[in-house]
């Protein structure tokens, strides 16, 4: 094989490989969808984060505006301290509230940001004061059963007397 033809083939091969990587990054992956290069971090403390995971989306009005970047346990407040990486294009009032929500009945959990009314916006490094913990399904069911049992026994007791 001639040297030059060989070089051409190898050149095409390398270009093809890099193009495939690019396709994977842009078309398949979310590199273009969320230009996470410019972000700022805010914090939120939750009493219970349920099944929230790092890299879970942060949504406001259903739009993904950032991602959960870190979850830690605070030894002083005994609460979960969640770091949110928000897209630098979006700003939220300081009195916004952060809720841990579930997509669908059994879907993955995400952080919902409910904008407040203040004129001042959340700065990088600040902490969101208003939070609502995750709804724990087991607790919910437990509570439901407890209520039901109380109501039920009351009723049957009444019937017995």
């Amino acid at each position: 094989m001639q040297r030059t033809t060989l070089d051409v083939w190898v050149g095409l091969f390398v270009v093809g490989g890099l193009a495939a990587l690019l396709v994977l990054a842009l078309k398949v992956g979310n590199l273009s969808a969320l230009g996470m290069s410019h972000t700022y971090t805010v914090y939120a403390d939750f009493g219970n984060i349920g099944g929230l995971k790092v890299r879970a989306p942060v949504k406001s009005a259903g739009v993904v505006v950032g991602r959960v970047s870190d979850i830690a346990f605070d030894n002083k407040t005994f609460e979960a301290r969640v770091a949110l990486n928000l897209d630098a294009r979006y700003h939220f009032p300081v009195d916004s509230s952060a809720d841990i929500l579930t997509s669908g009945l059994l879907g993955e959990q995400y952080v919902g940001l409910e904008p407040g009314a203040s004129n001042r916006v959340l700065a990088a490094g600040s902490t969101i004061r208003l939070t609502q913990s995750a709804v724990i399904l087991e607790n919910l069911i437990g509570q439901f059963l407890f209520n039901k049992a109380q109501g039920g026994s009351g009723a049957s007791g009444g019937a017995g007397q």
Binding site: L6, F13, V14, G16, G17, L21, V23, A25, V28, S32
Partner: protein, 263 residues
């Protein structure tokens, strides 16, 4: 009876010792090859030739297999997801399976069979026909001139091949899922893009394929260089390359997956 036991355990021990010694020798040979890689980069033409042999010549099998694996994923994934009414997640299933696992692993297995075995046979035959000795006697280091360029050619080819495998596979899944079955195109792509993370999934997949590339070519060149200089020795070494590298690929894949996708 006791003799039989002693014999059996003795020979098992022997074999274990032998394998450990060989592993040590292989590791030393790998480091030696890395140390002698200067020539490969000073004369990059040598590596280009090996990229042609390892990469370009493996292209057909990689692309065809990628397409078919993607199409099969399209059918199977649709079948399973349709039961739960979440066909729109087909793109996620196809893309994640390919990018995280099947792309790197299957392309590495194919690469071991196509390019790794050829590398072993080539180096083994060069040894058997005394070409390596001749080179050494001409004051040309065979490790620097023959082994190192092949190692680098393989290492550079593998991630490119596996990226092409995954890309073609996603296209195959698209063909079956969207074009043939009629899953909604918008949700196919958008769910895929929402779920596939660049750093977490794609970069990790590329890291896997680089590791596999190093493992397969290192095994292939070592087996070739270490092959007994006979026809039978070379053929056995070729078989060993394919078997060993397949097992190593799967083992490494398990370890890396455990580290990368624990969360």
């Amino acid at each position: 009876m006791i003799d039989w036991f002693l014999d059996t355990f003795g020979s098992v021990g022997q074999r274990v010792l032998q394998s450990v010694r060989r592993l040590g020798y292989a590791a030393r040979f790998f480091l030696l090859t890395l140390a002698k890689s200067g020539t490969s980069f000073a004369r990059f033409g040598l590596v280009v030739k090996e990229i042609y042999a390892a990469g370009v010549l493996s292209l057909v099998i990689i692309l065809v297999s990628g397409l078919f694996v993607g199409m099969v994923l399209g059918f199977q994934g649709y079948n399973t997801l349709a039961r739960y009414g979440s066909e729109s997640a087909l793109g996620v299933l196809v893309a994640l399976s390919l990018v995280r696992e099947l792309g790197p692993v299957v392309s590495a297995l194919l690469f071991a069979g196509r390019a790794g075995s050829a590398m072993t046979a080539e180096i083994g035959l060069m040894k058997a026909t005394e070409q390596l000795v001749a080179m050494d006697m001409m004051a040309v280091d065979p490790v620097a001139r023959v082994v190192a360029p092949r190692l680098w050619g393989g290492i550079l080819s593998m991630p490119l091949l596996s990226a092409m495998f995954s890309a073609v596979g996603v296209f195959g899944g698209y063909l079956v899922g969207v074009v043939l079955i009629g899953v909604d195109e918008g949700s196919f792509w958008s769910q895929m893009q929402a779920a596939v993370d660049f750093r977490e999934d794609i970069v990790n997949g590329v890291i896997k394929s680089v590791v596999f590339g190093v493992a397969v070519t290192a095994i292939a060149v070592f087996e070739g260089y270490d092959a007994p200089p006979t026809a039978e020795g070379v053929s056995r070494a070729t078989t060993r390359t394919v078997v060993t590298s397949s097992l190593v690929i799967l083992g490494l894949d398990f370890i890396m997956t455990a580290f990368m996708f624990r969360g």
